[in-house]
């Protein structure tokens, strides 16, 4: 079913999420028309157990597509939120759900979630309280403040006090890991698209009487871009290799950290190959590169997740790197006999 599902999801995005739509949502912070189309498609319930019980493995190609199309909606996040809410027997809030990277209590009892990715479009938020409990809060009473970075849909979200209608998710809800993993998978999708765009441009743009793709110096750069896109995709795939909806923290760490490092190199190469046109508002490259730069930090940078991985490795006394990888990090025996071909 995987390929069919992913194909039909891609067709949906190709139809409703043109670069013009992306720009308009970024300008207006209003994605209601887009949301209506996406919601009607039925994909939001993918991870809801009662509706077919898809897993993170099944979500992987769809999340890649969200990144590739620079979809200006927390669709992957909403998909995951609906999956975990349904699994806990909780009702699903209407509208897009965003995932908060952090939460703090402020003087006077206010609750603040700074820098929420897609926060400007969310109708509800999954957040982790300082004490550790994961809640789902509607945004009805919250103040939403866009972060002010050009084009960004990130926002600070503040409630004057904890709303009474908070939904409480059970322990074991891996909110931070899910945020990181989803972001990593969006990045992997965006990187694939970045590669495709850059290859296309290098084949079209001629200088010195031939396409710049024919110059060795450019070819070598594009090879590196391809390598980084491949590595990020594999890292995200490792993170999504779960036969359920909860990610495993250390695998999510690999996904996010590796995708962030890949984005660093890949964005630089894509812009270098495109030259000045790549940084113009009207050329679509920026829709991907701005996101990749922003997503690098969302739900923890490479360094944050590297430290977590490092601590886990050091704590595993007597274990060499390979056994640690095989027992802790890599899907290994749990993996479905997937392709490879």
């Amino acid at each position: 079913m995987d390929a069919l599902l992913a194909d039909s999801f891609e067709r949906l995005l190709a139809g409703v999420c043109s670069p013009a739509v992306v720009r308009e949502v970024e300008r207006s912070a209003d994605a209601s028309a887009l949301w209506t189309e996406v919601e009607a498609s039925g994909f939001l319930g993918l991870l809801v157990l009662q509706w077919g019980g898809a897993t993170l493995r099944d979500a992987f190609p769809l999340w890649l597509a969200c990144g590739a199309y620079a979809l200006p909606l927390p669709l992957a996040q909403t998909m995951w939120a609906r999956g975990v809410l349904a699994a806990a027997g909780l009702p699903m809030p209407a509208g897009p759900v965003a995932l908060a990277p952090g939460t703090r209590r402020e003087a006077g009892g206010a609750l603040r979630c700074p820098g929420v990715p897609f926060g400007a479009l969310a109708r509800a938020l999954l957040l982790r309280m300082p004490e550790g409990e994961v809640l789902c809060l509607p945004l009805a009473d919250a103040a939403v403040q866009r972060c002010g970075v050009h084009g960004s849909l990130q926002a600070d979200i503040v409630w004057p006090s904890l709303p009474a209608d908070a939904l409480r998710l059970p322990p074991g809800t891996e909110l931070q890991a899910a945020g990181a993993l989803i972001t990593a998978t969006l990045m992997a999708g965006a990187l694939q698209q970045l590669l495709a765009m850059t290859l296309r441009y290098a084949n079209e743009r001629a200088q010195f009487g031939k396409p710049i793709a024919k110059f060795q110096a450019v070819q070598q750069q594009l090879a590196v871009l391809a390598e980084q896109a491949f590595a990020a995709r594999m890292a995200a795939q490792i993170g999504c290799a779960e036969d359920g909806v909860q990610p495993q923290r250390l695998r999510a760490a690999v996904a996010k950290a590796r995708a962030a490092e890949a984005a660093d190199k890949a964005v630089a190469i894509a812009h270098a190959v495109h030259g000045a046109i790549g940084v113009t508002a009207e050329f679509d490259l920026q829709l991907l590169t701005r996101r990749l730069q922003e997503w690098r930090g969302d739900h923890g940078s490479a360094s944050y997740w590297h430290a977590e991985l490092g601590r886990a490795l050091i704590a595993a006394q007597g274990r060499a790197a390979l056994p640690f990888l095989l027992d802790t990090l890599l899907p290994g025996a749990a993996a479905r006999p997937e392709d490879g071909t």
Partner: protein, 383 residues
């Protein structure tokens, strides 16, 4: 065009090999110093290779009829990653096991298979690969060593250079010109098996910067070879070598080359009261590179096992892999001296510097970085 690499699963039967290999290595490697182990697939120990052969672990993928293990590429992947990650000195049999054996099986005559493969599997015959020449490195197609038909075989004249292990191997599989001139490039090349004990063969060892000797110059001064020295078809050498390079480039040795150093450093960090945050970040960074690399390497193995020849994907993984192998010692060299008053333990220091010294070769062997990126560019449709 490049196809994304998916996750693969090692079949249980192949995974079952792992504990046995680990137990064997616990015994066989006991007491070997870390800076020796760091040599891994550059470490030559014929006795070790024969001990491995007695376990049935040399020629694991070759058919049982020829003394091999009759196992698939996944079995070899498990064996290889365990050997490499422990730094087992596998150099003596490695080239025969990885390339020469499969090459002879695929392209060799029945007589050649029956003669060479059992010797490879028992680690009695070690092989080297004669490709580079003084005027022909990355530009392999320009090679000049020539074999001409003689009354009862071939007459070989020319010179190979940078041939790893030629001084202690029994045979070389040499890529030589059998037709035309260097200007004919890929046409007219053939592969010949050269018995290195024959008259007219002179091997001169070249020492390296780390105090080891593995490279050689090999001179062929009218060496007379039997007619059946030819492997595969006359003139098909380039295609055969390309297929062979997919084996050479896709193996896990392209990601694990610095792993003994990594483990030694991790053990050192564990011995400290409190590793620095920077050290934790670096340890995690290396792990976050290694994990996806390993799965990519495994995906190549899955494609090899399915009968494909993933030449372009292998180039991609090798380039990424060697970049990691080279970054590792360089990053550690910085980390270990982040507190200059705290000297690293001597063995860790020797291991670090050995890897630092030889790591430039990681992106030379089996195709330089620039050549590999050219192969990837071709896969991307740019050439």
């Amino acid at each position: 065009m490049l196809q994304p690499l998916g996750l693969s699963r090692i079949p249980d039967s192949a995974e079952a090999l792992r504990p046995a290999v680990r137990a064997f290595l616990d015994e066989a490697l006991r007491g070997r110093p870390t800076d020796q182990l760091a040599r891994s697939w550059m470490g030559f120990d014929a006795d070790f290779s024969r001990a491995l052969a007695r376990q049935g672990w040399v020629g694991l993928t070759l058919p049982r009829d020829y003394g091999g293990g009759g196992k698939d590429a996944f079995h070899r992947f498990v064996l290889a990653e365990e050997l490499l990650c422990r730094g087992a000195p596998v150099s003596a049999h490695w080239i025969a096991d990885r390339q020469s054996g499969p090459l002879i099986l695929k392209y060799g005559s029945q007589k050649q298979r029956e003669f060479y493969l059992p010797k490879i599997c028992s680690a009695e015959a070690f092989f080297c690969i004669g490709m580079s020449e003084p005027q022909s490195g990355s530009d392999l197609a320009g090679l000049r060593t020539r074999a001409t038909r003689s009354a009862d075989g071939w007459r070989l004249k020319g010179q190979k250079l940078w041939t790893t292990n030629a001084h202690r191997a029994h045979y070389m599989i040499a890529l030589v010109r059998t037709h035309g001139t260097p200007e004919d490039r890929h046409k007219g090349l053939s592969q010949l098996i050269v018995d290195l004990s024959l008259p007219g063969v002179t091997v001169r060892t070249i020492g390296d910067l780390a105090g080891d000797a593995h490279f050689n110059e090999v001179f062929f001064d009218d060496v007379l070879l039997p007619a059946d020295a030819l492997v595969g078809d006359e003139g098909a050498g380039w295609a055969q070598v390309t297929a062979e390079l997919a084996f050479e480039r896709s193996g896990p040795e392209r990601i694990y080359g610095s792993i003994v150093l990594f483990d030694a450093w991790i053990d050192y960090l564990r011995s400290l009261k409190q590793p620095s945050e920077a050290d934790l970040i670096l340890a995690g960074k290396l792990l976050a590179h290694l994990g996806p690399l390993r799965e990519m390497s495994l995906a190549l193995t899955a494609r090899l096992a399915a009968g494909a020849s993933p030449v372009i994907e292998a180039a991609l993984v090798k380039d990424l892999g060697t970049e990691f192998e080279q970054a590792l010692p360089n990053w550690l060299a910085d980390a270990l001296y982040a507190s200059p008053e705290q000297a690293p333990p001597p063995m860790l220091l020797r291991t670090l510097h050995y890897v630092l010294q030889v790591c430039p070769t990681f992106s030379l062997r089996g195709g330089t970085r620039e050549i590999l990126r050219g192969v990837i560019a071709r896969g991307l449709g740019l050439r």
